[in-house]
Symmetry: C2
Subunit: 210 residues, 2 copies
């Protein structure tokens, strides 16, 4: 298949990038792979989008596919491989496309930003949960880095370097959340000191406090 109309969205390149690192993969495997490699620094597209991207990459001749039959039955499984043209196009994208600004949608911080509307312990809970999440991601990235680190294939040096970046990133994310939590606790402490002071100075409980 061939169609003109150039320059794909970044997500397509991400999928093609996976195929450039791995060998022959099915859409399903690609999604699983995205969940444990891409996900650390680039979001993992849904199944349906992976299939859609593969279709588009095929139309551009950046990938080829063949249907693999299981020994016994007819359970077809379409396996994709990057073509030389695909590899070339990918290299061109890496080398020449303008780099988009990183996209961050941090819903935890969005909620913290609206903390004045939150019930007392809500932000605390959210941040504790987020610290957990960051630590889990860090551990997973570290495990992957170690697993791939044992491989001496020079093709892996960049993915491994990026995995190290990911480990540090989630470490920082964890620490940043801890710092914010400490800041908020500090704020709470200041508030109650002030409350106690005013209570002592008026000699009566503050009627503004429920």
């Amino acid at each position: 298949m061939t169609t003109s109309d150039t320059s794909l969205p970044t997500t397509s390149w991400a999928v093609l990038g996976m195929l450039s690192h791995a060998g022959e993969l099915s859409g399903y495997e690609l999604k699983k792979w995205a969940d444990w490699s891409l996900q650390f620094f680039y979001w993992s597209p849904s199944f349906s989008q992976i299939y859609a991207e593969l279709k588009r990459l095929d139309e551009h001749d950046y990938v080829t596919s063949r249907i693999v039959q299981s020994e016994d039955g007819i359970r077809g499984k379409r396996m994709y491989t990057i073509t030389d043209g695909g590899r070339e196009a990918l290299a061109h994208w890496v080398n020449h496309s303008p780099v988009e600004a990183p996209v961050l949608k941090h819903s935890v911080m969005l909620r913290a930003w609206l903390g004045n509307l939150a019930e007392p312990d809500r932000l605390r809970d959210i941040l504790v949960e987020h610290i957990d999440y960051a630590e889990q991601m860090r551990r997973r990235a570290a495990a992957d880095a170690e697993a791939e680190g044992s491989d001496r294939n020079p093709d892996w040096v960049f993915p491994i370097a990026v995995l190290r970046w990911c480990v540090r990133h989630y470490e920082a994310e964890r620490e940043l959340a801890r710092d914010l939590l400490a800041d908020l606790d500090q704020l709470e402490a200041t508030k109650s000191v002030r409350r106690n002071r005013s209570r002592r100075s008026t000699g009566a409980p503050n009627p503004d406090e429920s």
Copy 2:
């Protein structure tokens, strides 16, 4: 206006959140504000989406609007204000909606991940540019934190705490990029040492190297 059909996307809450912090704002002003406050931790929607979100928030009675005329002409300018219902809905969202995982689309790291396809200095350039970007963002966040920090309004404590988080975040982003740059330089150094070693041991230049 009133329509049922509950639970808006996060972006709607982000826009409503801005209105909860500021007073009366136009769509245009909202976009400008998003660019210098929201942008640090949540992406800034396009103009057209801001307008679309405002329409939707209006349909939910979460905002009201009025058209402000300039002294002389008819240049209408629609100004939006959050309603009590809007504030309540926003508080409910903060307190009770499940927190989505942070979304990160780091196109710089995506390119680094494909570094084996990049020309020698390309990654270097991308990373240096990214370090610049992170430093600029850090500076802007720090300036905002200082500007708002002078304000003693207790409504601002949470936005200011989040701004401090942003300052640290972009600081970390900068350092992480520097570390990765150092890692890659190290890799290059190792490679050329190996090259020189093999050259010396064979007593002739390596023909594999162009």
